[in-house]
């Protein structure tokens, strides 16, 4: 008798081979999917860091040790790395992602930059950047920088006191405040295409604050020109105030009689005030300001009154209720 339709043994795929093939394919799918997930994660969280190349600043001068100690011009704490200062920025004109500002601002062209100084002054003038920078040689100022978000850095700026510029234009006696304005140009500052803030960014100081030697117009960090992400070509630095007061890429400085509007207090008046002095006792409505995360160090450290510049600037605010005037 003949067995019907007998498939010869060597025609049947042995089960071991069958399962092996299946396992092989599955291992492949598993590996491919893990790689795909990894690639998506990497796309969303890139680690690539672009080189930051800016010109070396000539003739940066450093004050004497005695002057530095008394004036607060040089804080004696480890400086934050150039890498971190240039890759962790709040500059919404380019991106709201602090780690994304550097690449978004790359190639920002500041050729032909002008700064108009106007308003209640005897000698209004539109400065070419070079002329503005010639007002006084750049000085090295090593300041603490405390962001309102609760992190801080120590930054070696190069710049000169704002008062020196004001002396040149001669404010009238009617001038009580200084108003600052950032460039408005959505083509060059892509972040301005979204309406996160009311563009252009504006900031302001009271006259006595603006005349304080600690308030500087900075054009460099680490002895080199400011990279775009840090506010090229010229920005304000007021180390006793939260970082957002340090308006970047300034095109206009106007002396005015009344307190000017400022971008963040306009955005959320209950959260950000005009003064924005660093104050560990007055919390942001949503988070504590008592401590801060120093970039490059682990753990949190206590935040200092006026960011450690109380001795220098405390007298500007005597008699003021700092809870109300936050």
């Amino acid at each position: 008798m003949k067995e019907p339709d007998k498939i010869s043994d060597n025609e049947i795929t042995p089960s071991a081979v069958y399962f092996n093939r299946r396992n092989f394919i599955r291992t492949g799918i598993l590996a491919a999917s893990a790689v795909a997930t990894g690639v998506v994660y990497r796309k969303l969280n890139p680690v690539a860091k672009g080189e930051v190349k800016t010109a070396k600043l000539e003739g940066v001068i450093s004050a004497s040790a005695a002057t530095n100690a008394a004036t607060g011009f040089r804080v004696d704490e480890p400086e934050t790395s150039f890498e971190d200062i240039t890759h962790y920025n709040n500059f919404y004109e380019f991106s709201t992602d602090k780690e994304g500002v550097a690449s978004a601002a790359q190639g920002f062209d500041t050729k032909g930059w002008q700064v108009s100084v106007e308003g209640l002054v005897n000698k209004p003038k539109v400065f070419n950047l070079d002329d503005l920078l010639k007002i006084s040689p750049p000085e090295e100022r090593i300041y603490r920088m405390r962001c309102v978000e609760g992190w801080s850095m120590v930054i070696p700026w190069a710049g000169f006191s704002l008062s020196k510029l004001l002396d040149v234009v001669e404010p009238t006696s009617a001038a009580k405040y200084v108003a600052f304005e950032t460039l408005l140009n959505p083509k060059r500052m892509p972040g301005q295409r979204s309406d996160v803030l009311n563009w252009p960014y504006v900031e302001g100081l009271r006259m006595d604050e603006a005349m304080h030697p600690l308030a500087i117009l900075a054009s460099g960090i680490y002895g080199r020109s400011l990279p775009p992400q840090d506010g090229a070509p010229i920005r304000l630095v007021t180390p006793w105030k939260y970082g957002f007061k340090g308006i970047k890429s300034i095109v206009k400085i106007k002396l005015v009689a009344d307190q000017p509007r400022t971008s963040w207090s306009e955005y959320a008046p209950n959260e950000y005030g005009f003064y924005a002095n660093v104050n560990p006792q007055v919390d942001h409505p949503r988070w504590s300001q008592a401590t801060e995360q120093r970039i490059g160090a682990s753990g949190r450290r206590p935040t200092l009154m006026f960011n450690g510049y109380e001795e220098q600037v405390g007298h500007l605010y005597t008699g003021m209720d700092l809870r109300k005037n936050f």
Binding site: R26, I29, L30, S33, A34, T37, G38, Y41, R42, N45, V47, E83, D84, H87, Y88, Y92, T96, K98, E99, E149, W151, V196, L197, Y267, A268, R286, W287, S288, Q293, I295, G296, S298, G299, R300
Partner: protein, 207 residues
Amino acid sequence: MKENDIRFIKLLILVNGLVPLALLVWDQGHKQLGANPQNFLILTTGMMTLIFLVLTMAVMPLRKITGWNWLIQFRRMLGLYAFFYGCLHFLCFFSLDRGFSVSSTLTEMLKRKYLIVGSTALIVMIPLAITSTNAMIKRMGGKRWRALHRLAYVAAIAGVIHYYMQVKADVRQPLVFAAVLAVLLGYRLVVYLRQTKPIKAATPAAK
């Protein structure tokens, strides 16, 4: 779908869910988490929690629309991943931000509304994780188990609000989460209303 295939897909989810954690650990080891690694770890683990919460909430609508009933078998794992990343998120906050100080963690959590909301999300996930086993479903009975697991809505909604509350100004990302969640919850609402309508209409007639 075959049991064997289900197990394989579960393995796929298990492995892929660990990929972000593996990359976080890798980047931490290579000091490439950016200028503020503490913040990055807290933010990313929180983001993963929200992603898995949304994926968990997406299972039911997806199953109804496609008719693929086997999808339900992966919901537990997605939910447990949400809880897992939520715990990591809290641990990162507790260790890196609060320096392992229980008192400062507690005072901060009671003082800050966004932390109260976030803690709520995490705390309601605890009973869900505990009762996620087959044995617990049997013990509780399907009806009571399903009622308890509606807390997942609370966790997801509170999680997104928690994210929204602590963003400084650019709320686009939390709003994307909110929108996706709204669609998923909206779908459930429509299903619920469709199911209850005929019953309600029938009640007076029966009287």
